[in-house]
């Protein structure tokens, strides 16, 4: 079943400004993914269950008393997001390739980077939805309030960085022979600054640390997000051309 990209108007027939078309293209890609997912919900349920299982594993892997456990909450959360994230990225790109959607998108007269942004937004949406559900469950399981605005901001920024680089790398890995296995190998070493800063900031927020301690890693997250999304935006063309 190929999802039709019907919302993209050819440039010649619409006299909209180029930027308007770009945004339309991005929205079209995003909407296509969200619509497809709402219908089947296969990706989403897989991500959710996988995340919960990871939390379960960590519970047994790190048999901690309550006090020590507080120091690892941030780490466990981000490890969970990182692992579940690769799952989501892999599936999202594999669907594109297998259903031929990618080829269809490439034929459309849109800037390739619009496809990149569309995919980033849809991958981000999935990741955030999963995270939003994991948070309350984790809060309940470990009796810790995770609904702090600072923490939510860190989760957002970290997810953006993760998905920004991950989408680019997933677009590559899905075109190789080794496919799924390759994505974590490519992604994890490169996304370490995100994990580092996110865990540091999250841990600080949960422990009620000084603002100055938390601002530094948050700034790094913002810098990373900007740098890598800019680079990915520039090179995405080379990654999907035939």
């Amino acid at each position: 079943m190929i999802n039709k990209v019907t919302d993209v108007k050819p440039m010649s027939s619409s006299h909209a400004r180029p930027s308007g078309n770009f945004i339309k293209a991005v929205a079209a890609v995003l909407w296509k993914d969200l619509r497809a997912e709402f219908r089947s919900r296969e990706l989403f349920s897989a991500l959710l269950v996988f995340s919960l299982l990871i939390i379960l594993i960590f519970n047994f892997a790190l048999e901690l008393d309550i006090k020590t456990r507080q120091s690892v909450n941030a780490g466990v959360l981000w490890a969970t997001f990182a692992f579940a994230g690769t799952l989501g990225l892999n599936r999202s790109m594999a669907i594109e390739k297998d259903r031929g959607c990618l080829d269809g998108l490439l034929l459309a007269p849109v800037d390739r980077s619009a496809i990149y942004f569309g995919k980033v937004l849809s991958n981000l949406a999935f990741m955030l939805i999963v995270e939003i559900i994991v948070l309350p469950i984790y809060s309940v399981l470990y009796n810790v309030n995770l609904f702090l605005p600072g923490l939510l901001l860190v989760i957002l920024l970290g997810s953006i960085g993760y998905v920004g680089v991950g989408t680019l790398l997933a677009a590559m890995s899905v075109q190789t022979r080794t496919r799924d296995i390759l994505l974590p190998i490519l992604l994890f070493p490169v996304v370490i600054p995100v994990l580092l800063a996110a865990v540091k900031a999250s841990g600080g927020i949960l422990a009620g640390a000084d603002l100055t301690e938390i601002l530094l890693p948050i700034n790094l997250l913002i810098a990373y997000d900007i740098i890598f999304i800019a680079v990915a935006f520039m090179v995405f063309d080379s990654v999907v051309e035939e």
Binding site: M172, S173, Q175, T178, P189
Partner: protein, 232 residues
């Protein structure tokens, strides 16, 4: 296959000589360090390989950009050579760093910014080769390689600074960023000689291996092309 250019033959011999001389200076001319003893001598090779490998990785990122702009496969060949040689050198760096750490700080591994970033960087470039291995089309292989070498080359220094800034809660044996600060040894003139000569020697060796690897790449490309032609 064209025979080796004379310059390269000379460079081969020169590399062996400087390697030998550097080892000699490091082992016999430089004095024994007071606090940690002879193991400190690995420091010269450690720095020699580290500095050239890092330059190699930066060079590779540069080749990425040039390739993506020009689409000329020559730059891809250069990049592969640079990364491969740097990978080997950096491996030596990491192992020597670990060997130095053991008697100096009684641990095989320290999670200090440099060693940790080195391990991550090594993994990035191993991943680079795994990525290339999974692609048959030379053009796509070059494009993907270029993109990943660029991304990797950008993230490694960021990782270093991130670890330096944030990992203060760990028992860092390094004050500031200088691993030499712990077991801080100030260098005597002889040590300085060994140090700079090692840097020089490994630069020469790097260039030699780099050039040899490029020629290997040319041969590889020729064989691939001919294979396609003959099997058509």
């Amino acid at each position: 296959m064209q025979s080796k250019p004379v310059t390269l033959r000379i460079l081969d011999i020169a590399s062996i000589i400087v390697l030998g001389v550097s080892a000699y200076i490091a082992l016999f001319v430089a004095p024994t360090e007071l606090v940690m003893g002879d193991v400190q001598r690995v420091f010269y090779f450690h720095i020699g390989t580290a500095w050239t490998a890092l330059l190699g990785f930066i060079l590779a990122a540069g080749f990425s950009v040039i390739y993506l702009i020009t689409k000329n496969l020559l730059w891809d060949r250069l990049q592969v050579a640079a990364i491969e040689v740097s990978l080997v050198f950096f491996l030596i760096t990491i192992v020597l760093g670990s060997i130095w750490a053991r008697p100096a700080w009684n641990t095989w591994w320290t999670w200090d910014p440099r060693l940790t970033t080195a391990a991550i960087t090594e993994l990035i470039y191993i991943a680079y080769f795994m990525l290339r291995q999974g692609i048959d089309d030379p053009d796509r292989r070059a494009r993907f390689g270029a993109v990943y070498a660029l991304i990797g080359g950008l993230s490694a220094p960021i990782t270093f600074f991130a670890i330096r800034l944030f990992r203060t809660i760990h028992p860092v044996v390094i004050s500031g960023s200088n691993p030499e600060a712990e077991g801080a040894f100030s260098m005597t003139p002889d040590m300085r000689t060994a140090f700079f000569f090692a840097l020089f020697a490994f630069t020469v060796i790097f260039i030699d291996l780099f050039w040899n690897r490029i020629r290997l790449g040319e041969l590889q490309d020729k064989v691939e092309q001919l294979k396609l032609k003959v099997t058509m």
